[in-house]
Amino acid sequence: MIAAQNLHKQFGSVVAVDNVSFVAPDGAVTGVLGPNGAGKTTSLRMVYGLLKPERGSVLIDGIDMASHTLAAQRRIGVLPDISGLYPRLTPREHIRYFGRLQGVPSAELDHRIDTWVRLLDLGSIIDRRVAGFSHGERTKVALARALVHNPGNILLDEPTNGLDVMSTRAVRELIRHLRAEGRCVVFSSHVMQEVSALCDRIVVMGRGKVVAEGTPEDLLTLTGCASLEDAFVHLVGPHGETA
């Protein structure tokens, strides 16, 4: 479970994240929805502990990120907004490298890699060098690498951004699979359809603030709109401004 409380982050005079709080429970998919520049990525970076919030705190399964960073980070798996792979290494080497750094025993790793090959259909590329991979293939490798240590909490920053239909389907299926295993999944997106198709809970962000939070039904009731898209536009304004 992830609990973010009153996160605040400022870059120079620009307030990027302003008093953001949300809770992402286990066994559910929580979507962070908002237009570009709403502060989604900055919020997630504070949640996974690479950005230090000026105020506020993050608890991962009750462990404080600021004071017990490594213990908290061990419990999360993160797909950042850029996949960041090593062109000269193969997917298997990527997964092994991060698995070993996470402390997964070497003998256990081969078994886990087989599982990821099956889940993400990596069989044909697992031993090829990453240079020249398609965007979809890169995202799949980055996902497997981020999740090799079986974390209970998973943060995905715009995981389907720029993916083709088949890859998007694969990622969605993976997210449902993770939820079914009882894990806490948080993903950010600026695409309404993406969020409504997957999420149990939605955190709507605009201009660095949480504008609304709840189940899709909660949001409809709150805004009095008939569809989630209308509700979204109502909440963040037609030009991405908070109402």
Binding site: S83, G84, Y86, R88, L89, Q102
Partner: protein, 389 residues
């Protein structure tokens, strides 16, 4: 601690799959020794060429005695000289010309000084030794003939010979050959810089450029261990490059005709190991400096241009010591770069190094490296560096 080795192993594998870093390592390791071999061969060839000279003579018919005397000297071959000797030398068609004028025959017959001209170009380095050989030959002919004339008049040639000059080799070739030895310390230190550079820059600036630093740092490992692992890989590559340079240099030196040049070539295995120990402390510092500098670069290329400038640091003193070797200055030994140059000069000069020199150099290197890695760790924790692309 295990993580340090995991990271180092990954950087090592990653780097050596890149042809660029392999070539950098090889070129860096081979450049110096090949250069040394080339320079030695040049000097040897020049010296040989000076002993075997071909003398173009203009107007040989004016002095058949002199020309046939010259032709009898060992290694001398007489060639017909050009029509216009000065022009020929100026345009480099001939290296030098011996010109014998028409009045030679008459003056020589009358026992008056008979004029000959040696036309040469002093700016041409390679002909200098040949011209001096020719002058020696002419002087020898002059005193030999003069002696005969005195004897014909019943005077002992000893009377005019106030000095008995013995041929002493001026040994310029030997000096120049010894000077080439002074390049070795610089090439060893430069090899450390070139061989460590690809990993130092790719594992920092390259990691930022690819966006792979962010996921990497999410692994639950203390920040300093990432830095230490990357440094370990770069330092190992630097040491490998340096060891390669040293072995190729030694192989080249053993194949060169050093004794012919009058240079003592007695670098024993113990001395080679001592050389390694003397240069190795710089193999700790150089990659640490390179990593620290690369942290400020956003791309691999940007880092490479910074590191290219950094190479000037060891090069300038390296060239200076070719002319002013840093021997007998033990207080220099603990200093980075200058210490390496001073210690290598001592070892190649056949002297023993005090153990204190090596320990001092190691202690200074270890603390400097620790400081640089601590600074790099701070940079690795900076939000600007992790996310600033």
């Amino acid at each position: 601690m295990n993580a340090i080795f995991l990271i180092a192993a990954k950087e090592w594998v990653d780097a050596f799959r890149d042809r660029r870093s392999l070539y950098t390592l090889l070129i860096g390791a081979l450049f110096g020794p090949l250069m040394i071999g080339f320079m030695f061969n040049q000097i040897a060839r020049q010296q040989k060429a000076a002993q075997e000279i071909q003398i173009p003579v203009t107007g040989p018919e004016n002095a058949p005695v002199l020309v046939s005397w010259l032709a009898q000297q060992s290694g001398v071959e007489i060639l017909p000289g050009p029509e216009n000797p000065e022009e020929a030398v100026r345009e480099r068609r001939a290296e030098f010309v011996l010109v014998i004028g028409k009045e030679f025959a008459a003056k020589f017959r009358d026992s008056r000084p008979a004029p000959v001209q040696v036309v040469s170009d002093a700016t041409s380095q390679s002909t200098r030794s040949k011209v001096s050989r020719l002058n020696h030959l002419l002087a020898a002919f002059s005193s030999e003939t003069g002696g005969l004339r005195l004897m014909a008049r019943g005077v002992s040639p000893g009377i005019v010979a106030t000095l008995k000059i013995e041929q002493v080799e001026v040994a310029t070739a030997q000096q120049r050959a010894a000077m080439i030895f002074n390049f070795i310390p610089m090439f060893l230190v430069l090899a450390l810089f070139t061989a460590g550079m690809p990993i130092a820059s790719d594992s920092t600036a390259g990691e930022r450029e690819r966006g792979s630093l962010e996921p990497l740092l999410l692994n639950p490992i203390p920040r300093w261990q990432f830095v230490a692992g990357k440094w370990l890989a770069a330092s190992a590559a630097a040491m490998l490059g340096m060891a390669l340079t040293l072995s190729v240099t030694m192989a080249v030196l053993f194949r060169l005709p050093l004794e012919e040049l009058g240079v003592r070539n007695a670098v024993s295995l113990a001395q080679v190991l001592l050389l390694l120990a003397a240069v190795a402390p710089m193999g700790l510092i150089a990659p640490a400096v390179q990593m620290f500098v690369s942290c400020f670069a956003r791309t691999f290329k940007e880092a490479q241009s910074y590191l290219g400038l950094l190479m000037i640091l060891p090069t300038i003193p390296g060239i200076v010591i070719v002319f002013y070797p840093l021997t007998n200055r033990p207080w220099l030994h603990p200093l980075p770069i200058l210490g390496q140059y001073a210690m290598v000069s001592e070892i190649l000069g056949g002297k023993d190094l005090p153990a204190l020199s090596l320990l001092g150099a190691l202690a200074v290197a270890a603390s400097l490296t620790g400081l640089l890695l601590a600074l790099a760790t701070r940079l690795f924790s900076s939000e600007k560096i992790i996310f600033g692309r």
